[in-house]
């Protein structure tokens, strides 16, 4: 059940689209552009509109998505995305405005940006936000650049960023991008930061610490204020990775826990869809003492009109062109408008309830990484199953046969055979029960017919793919293969 490549559907001479005539006599480009700059061949496919539509519709049907079913991918917050968000992003007043239009002609857009900034401030307890970063990792990089600017201004000699070993891979990568050495901090038996190990690593050259709370085991870091104080003692800054914000809205705020700078993943918590891997948006919030370092442009309101401020003296600069992924901001703003204060708190309450319910049902079958109440997600270990010859990967693949997306597996790295489940708040008890039932069935299969599990998936459009071949002989460009150009 595979689909031909669009290039293989090409019928020279066919076109999927026509343009109106020019309305004036053409000039010969060769009279205006030197011949060496005029392209000779353009081997793009030529396909009729109906065939293009069918090609991409058929491709879409090879995908699993939230609109099809339950997607318990831990740390990714795959909640349902209300359709009205899409409609709002497509209003001509939002979709058809140019980033260099005069401020007078985009007052609604600027008001929306300002409104979303102050809403995020209230939700997180921070004092100011930039909506410029294009994704979570981009937000982390922006945040760490702000940390760097803070230390540079104070002429602090700082070289290290501390990151718990349970942290997302983007944390160390983002810190390294900003020129910092990454020092890993151990987790304790409760999945939290090991305070002894942390203490031994806090030296005068520590620029800051990156932490997510709840942590990647889905557990609330109860020592958070102590940790923040320890870092502040050496004039370090504490960064909050907002990947897990969906667990705590309306209950507690990073700004009140002692964090100085943070990012929010709008495409997770605020339900702008993931799009198969983007676009996202990673707004960055800071406390007052860091506001001057935020990237530009910034929106200012003088009581009458909104205005874009292009530059400010101590700003880290710009982390992308233009003001941000505005279309994503519109979706998030729509989502928040509809939910309101109470609705946002309910989101977190139900996300946590759903996760604990699933954990309660599943802990009799799997090792639970930490047996205490979790927040929005929890981590199981498939170790007992490995002893029966079935890997966590096999269980994940077998779940696909039952019509589910698999949980995140082998992350966080501190748990062997990790299975990380995040149900989100938008799922009903029936859905959660059906998923647990499917997992229980797979556990029975491991007893009765382990081969069935080990060779899964069986009902998917393709079977397990040869990743080694893909890496050894990279075929990543159709035209680069012999005889195709």
């Amino acid at each position: 059940m595979t689909e031909p490549l669009i290039f293989e559907m090409s019928q020279p001479g066919t076109t999927g689209f026509t343009y109106p005539g020019l309305g004036f006599p053409e000039i010969d480009p060769a009279d205006h552009i030197p011949a060496k700059f005029l392209r000779k061949t353009l081997p793009l496919p030529s396909v009729a509109e109906v065939d293009v539509v069918r090609h991409f519709t058929r491709l879409s049907r090879l995908n699993y998505s939230v609109d099809v079913g339950f997607y318990p991918l831990g740390s990714c917050t795959m909640k349902y995305n209300p359709k009205v968000n899409e409609d709002m992003a497509r209003l001509p007043g939002f979709a058809c405005i140019h980033p260099y239009q005069p401020d007078d002609s985009v007052q609604g857009a600027l008001a929306l940006i300002k409104g979303l900034e102050s809403t995020l401030c209230e939700i997180t307890g921070m004092d100011a936000f930039t909506l410029q970063p294009a994704a979570g990792a981009h937000g982390e990089q922006t945040g760490i650049l702000i940390v760097k600017a803070y230390h540079d201004k104070k002429k602090n000699k700082k070289t290290k960023i501390l990151i718990p070993d349970s942290g997302h891979g983007t944390n160390p990568a983002s810190s390294a991008r900003c020129g910092y050495e990454v020092v890993s901090v151990k987790s304790n038996s409760l999945g939290g930061v090991d305070l002894e190990d942390l203490r031994s690593k806090i030296t005068a050259d520590v620029a800051g610490l990156m932490l997510t709370n709840p942590n990647t085991l889905g557990l609330f870091e109860t020592d958070v204020t102590t940790i923040a104080a320890m870092i502040h003692e050496v004039d370090g800054l504490v960064y909050y990775d907002g990947a897990n914000l969906n667990a705590i809205m309306g209950w507690t705020r990073p700004g009140d826990m002692g964090f100085d700078v943070m990012h929010v993943n709008l495409h997770k918590t605020f339900s702008t869809p993931h799009g198969g891997g983007g676009p996202g948006a990673g707004p960055v919030g800071v406390k007052k003492h860091l506001e001057c370092f935020l990237p530009t442009p910034r929106v200012k309101f003088d009581g009458k009109k909104y205005k874009l401020i292009q530059k400010s003296k101590e700003s880290i600069g710009s982390v992308r062109t233009f003001i941000g992924s505005f279309g994503v901001l519109v979706r998030a703003f729509t989502y928040i408008t509809q939910l309101g204060a109470e609705g946002l708190r309910d989101v977190s309450t139900h996300a946590v309830l759903n996760a604990n319910y699933m954990m309660a049902r599943l802990k009799k079958h799997f090792l639970v990484a930490q047996d205490r109440f979790c927040k929005h997600e929890f981590v199981l270990s498939g170790k007992p199953q490995v002893q029966k010859g079935v890997k966590t990967l096999d269980i994940a693949k077998r779940l696909l046969d039952y019509g589910y997306h698999a949980p995140t597996i082998y992350f966080p790295l501190i748990v062997d055979e990790a299975i990380m489940i995040e149900p989100t708040e938008t799922e009903s008890k029936n859905t959660l029960d059906a998923f647990v039932d499917a997992l229980e069935k797979i556990l029975q299969e491991i007893e009765t017919n382990p081969e069935l599990v080990k060779s899964a998936p069986h009902n998917t459009p393709v079977g397990r793919l040869d990743e080694t071949l893909a890496a050894r002989k990279p075929d990543i460009n159709y035209f680069h293969q012999p005889g195709r150009l």
């Binding site: 004036f24 699993y64 795959m78 007052q107 983002s174 557990l219 198969g276 003001i323 992924s325 990543i476």
Partner: protein, 436 residues
């Protein structure tokens, strides 16, 4: 809910939050408005949208890295399919073949346009894509400096300086004579410490750089040539790869992505095979499954942050997959003939407008020579004139002074295939009127 609580063994949901220390509990409702119904939400958003002037209500000649092109109707219908828009990154390849194959097609199309060997699955947008390209060049050459032409988008330069602080003051500023890189001075300004020479094609002023000469000069000192290219212009212009470019990157918004006040857009990054292990972000490869069918997977992941952590080639995780899909569908719908047509129409219309504007007295065209679909015009009292034109329903161009203080009254005018003869004639008439 009661049943669920019983299974968990709690009598109130608050118990699940008991581990949140007292001193950090919010203890009050969020100070935000009450939630509203869907119809009310729509009304609020519509009210905001109506306070903006959309390109449907004005005649726009704004460009500078974001362009108002026609987007075929079929495109949005496909993008709206939840199977594409509500999927995550294709970690489970067996149930993500749609996304993965589309990325493979995207990578191939970008290579076709740029003349490069390989492409990644997408970057955030043009400016940060360029910063990543320069990081690749630094890593590949082991050098610390990069030279960026002044004719590269000034915001791309600002983004690069912000994102690669270690480049520090090592940027070279190339003199732009006549809106082009001065190739005679370029040779003096780079040396064996230069990792990359960065130029834009067509450049920020719409002009076409002497890529072959620039490439030769860069190669002489062992610097990589990075070309920031408008992929839509490559429907008409020779691929930068033909001139020896090592990395071609930029903004693919012109390929079927709405302007949306600057995002979400689509950064792209393509390069020669020699740079494959330095590529940031995701790459999709073709392989076979255990049923001997063709299939696609994320590949060469040992470069990426989830495996290599601080040693990764980049920190990028989420990219712009859905926007890459827009570009792939756009290029599929237009095909060879369609992309050639739209590029040619942009060229023809820009030249038509330029000819008509030459008839308006008082206007000066400082940069002569070949251009694609953007050009610079000097309009006396440009600030006042542009705002008068805006009141008459025409966005006449972008004032360059905000980035280039010496270019007073220089205005960058962009023309896409969407502008009609009537609109261009009206613009000239309005100009005549306000200049008098």
């Amino acid at each position: 809910m009661k049943e669920m609580m019983a299974t968990i063994g709690i009598s109130a949901v608050g118990e699940l939050f008991a581990d949140v220390p007292e001193n950090v509990r919010l203890g009050r409702p969020l100070d935000l408005p009450k939630g509203v119904s869907e119809p009310e939400t729509i009304q609020r958003l519509k009210d905001l949208a109506e306070r903006n002037i959309s390109s449907q209500e004005v005649i726009s000649f704004l460009g500078g890295g974001c362009y108002d092109h026609y987007i075929p109707a079929a495109l949005d219908h496909l993008i709206l399919r939840g199977d594409f828009s509500t999927a995550y990154t294709p970690y489970q390849a067996e149930i993500s073949q749609g996304t993965l194959q589309a990325i493979y097609e995207f990578q191939s199309m970008m290579c076709c346009l740029t003349g490069m060997d390989q492409s990644n699955a997408s970057m955030y947008e043009g400016g940060s894509a360029l910063a990543e390209a320069i990081s690749m060049a630094l890593s590949q050459t082991g050098r610390q400096a990069a030279f960026m032409a002044e004719s590269v988008h000034p915001e791309y330069r600002r983004v690069t300086e912000s994102l690669i602080p270690k480049l520090g003051g090592k940027f070279g500023n190339l003199p732009s004579e006549d809106g082009l890189v001065d190739t005679s001075k370029l040779a003096e300004q780079i040396d064996e410490r230069t990792a990359a020479v960065v130029v834009q094609y067509p450049n920020f002023f719409g002009r076409i750089e002497e890529l072959d000469e620039i490439s030769a000069i860069a190669k002489r000192v062992g610097a990589l040539l990075i070309v920031v290219a408008n992929p839509l212009a490559l429907g008409m212009l020779t691929p930068p790869g033909d001139f020896g470019a090592d990395i071609v990157c930029g903004e693919a918004q012109p390929l079927g992505i709405p302007m949306s006040y600057g995002g979400p857009f689509l950064g792209y990054l393509t390069a020669r095979t020699a740079l494959l292990r330095k590529m940031p972000g995701r790459i999709t490869g073709c392989t076979v499954d255990n049923r001997q069918q063709r299939g696609f997977v994320l590949t060469l992941q040992a470069r990426e942050q989830h495996i290599r952590r601080e040693k990764a080639t980049s920190n990028i995780c989420s990219n712009q997959a859905l926007m890459a899909l827009c570009a792939t569908i756009y290029l599929s719908l237009l095909g060879e003939h369609g992309l050639q047509t739209v590029a040619r129409q942009c060229f023809q219309k820009a030249h038509y407008l330029r000819r008509e504007m030459e008839k308006v007295s008082g206007l000066v065209f400082p940069f002569s020579g070949s251009f694609f679909h953007e050009f610079v015009v000097r309009i006396p009292n440009s600030k006042k004139i542009l705002s008068k034109l805006a009141k008459q329903g025409t966005f006449g161009g972008i004032a360059l002074e905000r980035w280039f203080p010496r270019l007073t009254d220089h205005v960058l005018v962009a023309v896409t295939e969407k502008r009609t003869v009537e609109e261009m004639n009206l613009y000239c008439q309005q100009l005549k009127g306000v200049l008098e």
